[in-house]
Subunit: 193 residues, 2 copies
DNA sequence: CGTCTATTTGAATGTACTCAAAAGCGGTGG
DNA sequence: CCACCGCTTTTGAGTACATTCAAATAGACG
């Protein structure tokens, strides 16, 4: 049941059997039905989440009431409102299940105990933060320098598994365009080949 | 000479006199003339930089040869190619002095010694990474949900000191628009009031 | 099967872009 | 100190890409 998260952690740090047992013992499971919310705007996020099954989207609502997706998460991804979690202030992010999903939750206080007992987890979570940072940087760069069509093609190549599971409307929001525009881009692309 | 950086560090961690002395002893000073480069695309960044005087821009060059500013840094700001520094791989970022500048350099190996000798610096640099992360997230959100005019007004309000020092061309690049468009937006705004 | 939502298509609009040229400004050398 | 040169900023005209609003079609779910 915890094999996926252990494999995920082992990408960056090696754990002894005892450490693995301790780590998995502090995780709490959470199940969400499609359309249920994991995090709501205004919440102070007390958890980091690992997805073992399903698919979720993180989005914020701009002052005009328009939703903008910032991230998708499927199995073997970490998610959460990093900003709110790090600063412990009310967040602007919502997280909604796009499919029935199963998550493992690591509570902030429990995480701090973990850092004391198994300090190498500091390194692991710094890695996660770094990766999130890098992907955000790439996203900024991509939004500044590429057309919507280029961003769409890139998304499709980079996240094929999400491309097939996530509704186009949601992908459009992630790319920063309207669903109508994405539909037209897709049409263009089929004509081209 | 090191009072600015010590004040900067003290925002997040408290140092003893000895720790302060050790910390400042491991910093190296670097002077750049206007238009000189601190970091070039392809470099593996071995340093984190603190600006004590001057002004710099970080930018990348897209496949079409167009420059895109990702960050400005003035006195009391940290800068560098975070991605390259963290992963120790060749970076895509250039950093150029927009004015004659003075920097303090913290070399990666030396930083690691620092983490061992004064572990609270781990926390300090995690804070820096968090802040960088948060500002990137805000930037993505801003690019997705705001018009160029809104982004310009926000930039002006958020970074008044940069607004007066940085050439408009560079601000346009940061905002993701052409210099011509920024000029027109500014004209619009003067007409409005 | 019917309802609700997602996707596609059409037409008109708008925002920012490109290319071109003029005006403004700052730094440098005579 | 001033004139000139180069770069930045402004302005103009035409264009491209994505948007809005509206409506039709397709799909998913109970």
């Amino acid at each position: 049941m915890h094999s996926l998260i252990l494999k995920n952690v082992s990408r960056f740090i090696q754990l002894t059997k005892e450490e693995e047992a301790y780590f998995t013992s502090i995780l709490r499971e959470k199940r969400l039905k499609k359309k249920q919310y994991l995090v709501k705007e205004g919440d102070i996020t007390r958890n980091t989440y690992f997805v073992t099954e399903g698919c979720l989207r993180s989005f914020f609502i701009d002052p005009k009431g328009v939703e903008h997706n910032t991230q998708f998460a499927i199995e073997d991804w970490w998610t959460g409102d990093m900003h709110s979690f790090l600063t412990q202030t009310p967040g602007k992010i919502n997280i909604e299940a796009l499919e029935d999903s199963v998550l493992l939750c690591l509570e902030k206080n429990v995480q701090e105990d973990l850092f004391v007992k198994v300090p190498k987890f500091e390194r692991f979570f710094r890695h996660l933060l770094q990766n999130a940072f890098i992907s955000f940087q790439e996203r900024i760069v991509s939004n500044l320098s590429e057309t919507a069509e280029e961003r769409y093609i890139k998304f499709r190549n980079k996240y094929p598994s999400m491309y097939v599971r996530v509704p186009q409307k949601q992908i459009a929001s992630f790319l920063g365009i309207t669903p109508e525009s994405l539909s037209r881009i897709r049409k263009q692309l089929t004509v081209k080949r």
